[in-house]
């Protein structure tokens, strides 16, 4: 023992953590927004596609879900530019990776959501003369979104935690800020206590607000 807690240096460099937290949130929000688009498009495509397309979408989903995120981050940031004529910042690279990553998880979420929409609703849509496109847009997707909202918020919160991986390619998010303070002040325990509290606090605020939102939009079954 004999370790005296001293938070002074943490507060002096708190802007590193605060700015990091904001960036973490930004990364998570942008990635899930792109991920939702990927997930929706592929899920809708999947349920109406033939064997080949289904196989390709399933391959994408299974590949992403079964490989460590850190490896995907390295692959996109260090690997891809060596074989393709691409140049991007670490931040862009991470957003691309996390979007593809969340997209893969959300395809599954949306696909099972689409299957959970009661058949009767589609039949009712057909009965009142909606075109297939209208049935999808006005009947199937809104109901599906209500059904999948809980899974969607869980995905978002876990993405927020996954943004910590961005620190390995020096994106200055919260974990990177913590490491910076750790290496520059050696107030190790303090900085990780504060960082942990920040992740927990933000995560639980998100969780509670999303649960409120879910209650508001709960699917009537």
């Amino acid at each position: 023992m004999g370790y005296a807690l001293n938070f002074n240096l943490i507060w002096r460099h708190f802007d590193k953590l605060w700015g990091g937290l904001l960036l973490s949130l930004e990364l998570a929000v942008i990635s899930i927004a792109i991920g939702i688009v990927i997930g929706l498009v592929l899920a809708v495509w999947y349920v109406s596609a033939g064997r080949m397309v289904r196989g390709i979408i399933a391959a994408y989903v299974e590949f992403i879900r079964n490989v460590p995120l850190i490896l995907l981050v390295y692959l996109v940031f260090y690997g891809l530019p060596t074989v393709a004529d691409l140049a991007y910042s670490a931040q862009t690279s991470f957003i691309a990776t996390l979007s593809l990553y969340s997209g893969a998880y959300l395809v599954e979420v949306f696909r099972s959501g689409l299957e959970a929409v009661p058949r009767g609703q589609m039949d009712a849509g057909r009965a009142i003369g909606l075109t297939p496109w209208q049935r999808l847009l006005h009947v199937r997707l809104p109901t599906m979104l209500r059904i999948t909202l809980p899974a969607l918020s869980n995905t978002f919160i876990s993405l927020f935690k996954d943004t910590s991986i961005a620190s390995v390619i020096s994106v200055p998010e919260l974990t990177y800020g913590a490491q910076w303070i750790n290496f520059n002040t050696f107030r190790i325990v303090e900085v990780y206590l504060v960082t942990t509290a920040m992740y927990l606090f933000t995560g639980y605020i998100m969780l509670f607000s999303l649960r409120l939102l879910e209650r508001r939009f709960r699917a009537a079954r």
Partner: protein
């Protein structure tokens, strides 16, 4: 290019063995700790329930990476000097334990109350109730998500590379550092992780399907 990769294969295999070893230890320790804490959460006295609930909700709310750094850099500060390997295993085990607690709670919670009441009515002791009535039934609810969760342990083990431990991830990075063949090696690494984890997810799915016909 191919020659360099073939030359590096034994080194990568060593890293892979370490990845499996870390994953195995984490899965083993977390299973033991998770089942004990899980039983505490479901059947324990209120203070214990609270303690386990707080432990689980806290651990699951922190990114694994932060947990690993916290344990690795933080423990020496309070006088505990663990080699980086054991610090990593400890952190990953903490994380996985919280998951196992939740699997167990879900599985035991899915057993109808009547089963416990019947077990009490025929005079089984608490231990007998668990081992002869509850656990055999809860097992098939526990097993599929747990096996699927093993993939999280394998994927999470890639983070130990950040503590300088030469697991598969770190071995790949080191080979890339020498050969500059980034893309082929990352793809090779991804395929190895994929092979392990996909097998586990398939097993989990198959078991789940196999268990669904059993009526509750």
């Amino acid at each position: 290019m191919l020659g360099q990769i073939i030359y590096a294969l034994p080194f990568l295999a060593e890293g892979f063995a370490l990845t499996l070893w870390v994953s195995f230890l984490v899965v083993l320790f977390s299973l033991m700790a998770g089942v004990i804490l899980g039983v505490g959460l479901v059947y324990g006295p209120v203070p214990l329930r609270w303690a386990v609930r707080i432990f689980s909700d806290t651990i699951r709310g922190i990114p694994i990476l932060v947990l690993i750094f916290f344990v690795y850099y933080g423990l020496p500060a309070i006088g505990l000097h663990l080699p980086s390997f054991w610090a990593a295993v400890t952190a990953l085990t903490l994380f996985k334990t919280a998951q196992v607690v939740e699997y167990l709670r879900g599985a035991v919670g899915s057993i109808p109350r009547g089963q416990t009441e019947a077990a009490m009515a025929i005079g089984l002791t608490f231990r007998q109730q668990l081992t002869s009535v509850i656990f055999p039934q809860a097992f098939r609810r526990f097993l599929p998500p747990w096996i699927n969760g093993v993939t999280d342990a394998v994927k999470g083990s890639a983070l130990v590379s950040l503590l300088g431990i030469t697991d598969l991830m770190q071995a790949i990075n080191q080979v890339i550092g020498r050969t500059y063949e980034a893309m082929p090696l990352y793809i090779l690494g991804a395929l190895i992780y994929f092979a392990v984890n996909y097998t586990l997810s398939l097993a989990s799915r198959r078991l789940e399907r196999r268990f669904t016909f059993i009526r509750e």
